[in-house]
C-alpha cells in the first residue's frame, strides 16, 4: 500500500469499520445492557403461546362442529337466491368422529389395508417422480431455447388448458384399470404444475449474473451449471411441493373412477355401502401421506435454500 500510512483519515476509517478489532463496547457490557431472559422464558417465547392457542382453538372448533353434528344438521335457514349452502345431511350419510376412529382402529392393523395404501402411494410416488423429472427437463429446455418454446409453446398451453381428468376414460381403455392408468393420469396433471414454473424461472434468471459469468470466460455449460440451475432451484422445489399433493389427488381420483386396488378403490367402496366413516378415515390417511411427501420436499428446501435468509420462502407448517 503506497497510500499515506498513518494519516488521520485512515485511522478514522479503520475505527469505523473494524469494530470487531477495537470494540467500543465489550460483549459482556452489551449483555449487561440487554434484559436477559431465562431459558424457560426463551422456550416459552419460541413456543409462541398465542399461535399454539389459536391452533388449538381451530382444532377444537372443527372437532366441535363435527362431534356435535352441527356440520351435518346444517343451517336450513340460510338461503341465497333459493340455494341452501349449508343443507341438512340425512343421518344415513353422516360420519361421526367415534365411528371414523373405530374404522381406523379396525383397518389400520390389517395388512390388506396397507396393501391398498401401498398401491396408492406407489402410484402417486412414481407419478410424482416422472412428472417432476419431465417437468423440470421440459421447463429448462423451453426456457433456454427460444425457438423450441416458440414451436411448442402454443400446443403446451392448449393441452394445459384442457381439463385433463376428462381424458380418464380414454386412459383407462388404453392403459387398463390397473396401476398404470393412475400413474398416467397423475403424471399428465402434475407435469404442468412443474413445467410451467420451471420455464418461467429459467427465463427470469438475472441476466447480469449471466453477463458476469460470461465476462469471466464461462462456457454455456458452465453458465447452466453455475447460474441457471441454482437460480431456478427455489421455483422447482416450490413447484414440486404442489406436484406432490396433486399426484396423490390424481392417483386417488383415478382409483375412484375405476380400479382394482388402492385407497381410492376402498374409499368408493365404503361410500357405495353408505359407510361415510370409512370415507373420512381414508381421506385422513391420504392427507397424512401427502403431508409427509410435502414435508420431505420442505426439508430439501431447508437444506438447499439456506441462502434465502430472511426472504419469504414457503415454509413447512411446523407443529
Amino acid at each position: 500500500m503506497k497510500s499515506s500510512e498513518g494519516s488521520p483519515r485512515e485511522a478514522d476509517m479503520a475505527t469505523s469499520q473494524d469494530t470487531e478489532s477495537t470494540p467500543v463496547v465489550s460483549q459482556d457490557e452489551l449483555r449487561g445492557m440487554i434484559p436477559q431472559e431465562s431459558i424457560w422464558h426463551y422456550r416459552i417465547r419460541k413456543f409462541d403461546v398465542r399461535t399454539q392457542v389459536g391452533r388449538l382453538a381451530v382444532i377444537f372448533s372443527l372437532w366441535w362442529l363435527w362431534w356435535s353434528e352441527t356440520i351435518w344438521d346444517g343451517w336450513d335457514a340460510i338461503s341465497l337466491f333459493g340455494i341452501q349452502p349449508f343443507p341438512n345431511v340425512s343421518p344415513v350419510f353422516r360420519a361421526s368422529p367415534g365411528a371414523t376412529w373405530e374404522y381406523l382402529i379396525e383397518f389400520l392393523p390389517e395388512s390388506l389395508f396397507w396393501q391398498d395404501a401401498w398401491v396408492t402411494i406407489k402410484e402417486a410416488l412414481i407419478a410424482f417422480i416422472i412428472a417432476s423429472v419431465l417437468g423440470v427437463v421440459a421447463g429448462i429446455v423451453l426456457g433456454n431455447f427460444q425457438r423450441v418454446a416458440k414451436i411448442f409453446g402454443p400446443f403446451i398451453i392448449l393441452i394445459n388448458a384442457m381439463p385433463k381428468i376428462a381424458f380418464l376414460p380414454l386412459i383407462l381403455v388404453v392403459y387398463g384399470v390397473g396401476e398404470m392408468s393412475k400413474v398416467v393420469l397423475a403424471v399428465i396433471i402434475a407435469f404442468f404444475i412443474v413445467q410451467v414454473p420451471t420455464q418461467a424461472a429459467v427465463s427470469l434468471v438475472d441476466p447480469d449474473l449471466v453477463t458476469v459469468a460470461r465476462t469471466m470466460g464461462a462456457s454455456n455449460h458452465q453458465i447452466f451449471r453455475m447460474v441457471t440451475i441454482p437460480a431456478i432451484g427455489p421455483a422447482i422445489l416450490g413447484a414440486m411441493r404442489l406436484a406432490a399433493i396433486i399426484s396423490v389427488q390424481g392417483a386417488v381420483f383415478g382409483e375412484i373412477f375405476a380400479s382394482k386396488r388402492g385407497l381410492g378403490q376402498r374409499l368408493i367402496t365404503s361410500a357405495n355401502m353408505l359407510d361415510y366413516n370409512g370415507l373420512f378415515a381414508i381421506v385422513f390417511v391420504l392427507a397424512v401421506f401427502a403431508l409427509i411427501l410435502n414435508g420431505a420436499i420442505g426439508l430439501a428446501e431447508k437444506r438447499f435454500l439456506r441462502w434465502q435468509v430472511g426472504s419469504q420462502s414457503a415454509q413447512v407448517v411446523s407443529l
Binding site: 473494524d18 465476462t215 432451484g233
Partner: protein, 261 residues
C-alpha cells in the same frame, strides 16, 4: 508488445443498434470514437444517460463487436471475453446462493483453479476489502456497500490487467459511496492497473480518475478529454473540498452541461 503500445485503443469505432430490417430504424449508439489509453491510467467516462458509455465497456469486454472500426487491447483486436479483463456491473450482481467468499471465487471456479488456491486468493481479497469476517455470509445478510465490495473483490480475483467498471457505486447512498470509493481508490493506487470507469457522477469521476472523458448525447462522440492533475494518493473525503478539485470539476461540468441541458 512495445512499451508504448496502449493498453486500450479504439480506432474509428462506431456502433449501430438495430436497422437490420427495412422497417427497423437503425440507432447510432457511438459514432467515430478514437481513444487511446496508456497502461496504468485511470480513465473516467462521463456523459448523459443513454449516450453509449456502457456500450464502450461491452465492446472492450468482448461482449459485443463494434459495427465499424477496431477495438484493441495491448495491440491485439478484442474478439471475445477474456479472463484478463475484470468487468464490474452497476448492480453488484452477486449470486444470492453463494457466500461472499464463494462469490469472490466465481471467476476462479470458471477458470478451473483448484480449491485451496481459490480459497487463498478469495480470503486475501476479502481481507483487503475488510470483509474477512463476512466470508461465510450470504449477500442477503450483508449491506449494499458490503455487497458492492464483494463485487469488487470478485472482479479482481482473476488478477485482470484491465478493470472495466460500469457505475459501480451508483446504487449506494452518499455516505456508503464515500467509504467504498476511498477503499477502492486505495486499492487501485496500490495496484496501478488500467481502469475505465463509467459514471454519471462528475464529482466521482474527477475525484478518482487521472483523465476524464466526456461523451456527447446519442450518438456518442468524444466531447472532451481532460487530464486531472491532482496528486496521489488521494484522500477522497478531503479532496472533495480542495480548490484545485473544484476548478477541475467546474471546467468539465461546462462541457457536460451542454449535453445534458
Amino acid at each position: 508488445m512495445s512499451a508504448d503500445t496502449p493498453a486500450v485503443e479504439l480506432e474509428n469505432v462506431s456502433l449501430i443498434f438495430g436497422g437490420d430490417h427495412p422497417s427497423d430504424e437503425p440507432v447510432a449508439a457511438l459514432h467515430d470514437i478514437n481513444l487511446s489509453i496508456p497502461t496504468g491510467q485511470f480513465v473516467a467516462v462521463v456523459g448523459p444517460s443513454g449516450c453509449g458509455k456502457t456500450t464502450i465497456l461491452n465492446m472492450l469486454s468482448g461482449l459485443i463487436p463494434p459495427t465499424k472500426g477496431a477495438v484493441r487491447r495491448n495491440g491485439t483486436e478484442v474478439d471475445g471475453p477474456s479472463k484478463d479483463i475484470g468487468y464490474m456491473l452497476a448492480r453488484s450482481a452477486l449470486s444470492p446462493w453463494r457466500t461472499a467468499k464463494r462469490n469472490v471465487e466465481l471467476g476462479l471456479e470458471i477458470q478451473g483453479i483448484p480449491k485451496n488456491k481459490r480459497s487463498e486468493k478469495s480470503m486475501e481479497l476479502l481481507r483487503r476489502l475488510r470483509l474477512e469476517d463476512f466470508a461465510d455470509s450470504f449477500p442477503s445478510q450483508l449491506s449494499q456497500g458490503m455487497n458492492q465490495r464483494v463485487a469488487i473483490a470478485r472482479t479482481l480475483a482473476l488478477d485482470p490487467d484491465l478493470w472495466l467498471m460500469d457505475e459501480p457505486f451508483g446504487a449506494l447512498d452518499a455516505q456508503t459511496r464515500l467509504t467504498v470509493q476511498s477503499e477502492f481508490i486505495e486499492l487501485w493506487e496500490s495496484e496501478g492497473t488500467t481502469v475505465i470507469f463509467v459514471t454519471h457522477d462528475l464529482e466521482e469521476a474527477v475525484l478518482l480518475a487521472d483523465r476524464v472523458i466526456v461523451i456527447t448525447a446519442r450518438p456518442g462522440r468524444i466531447k472532451s478529454d481532460t487530464i486531472i492533475d491532482l496528486p496521489r494518493p488521494r484522500i477522497i473525503d478531503e479532496l472533495r473540498f480542495d480548490e484545485n478539485f473544484k476548478q477541475a470539476e467546474e471546467r468539465i461540468w461546462m462541457e457536460l452541461r451542454d449535453e445534458i441541458v
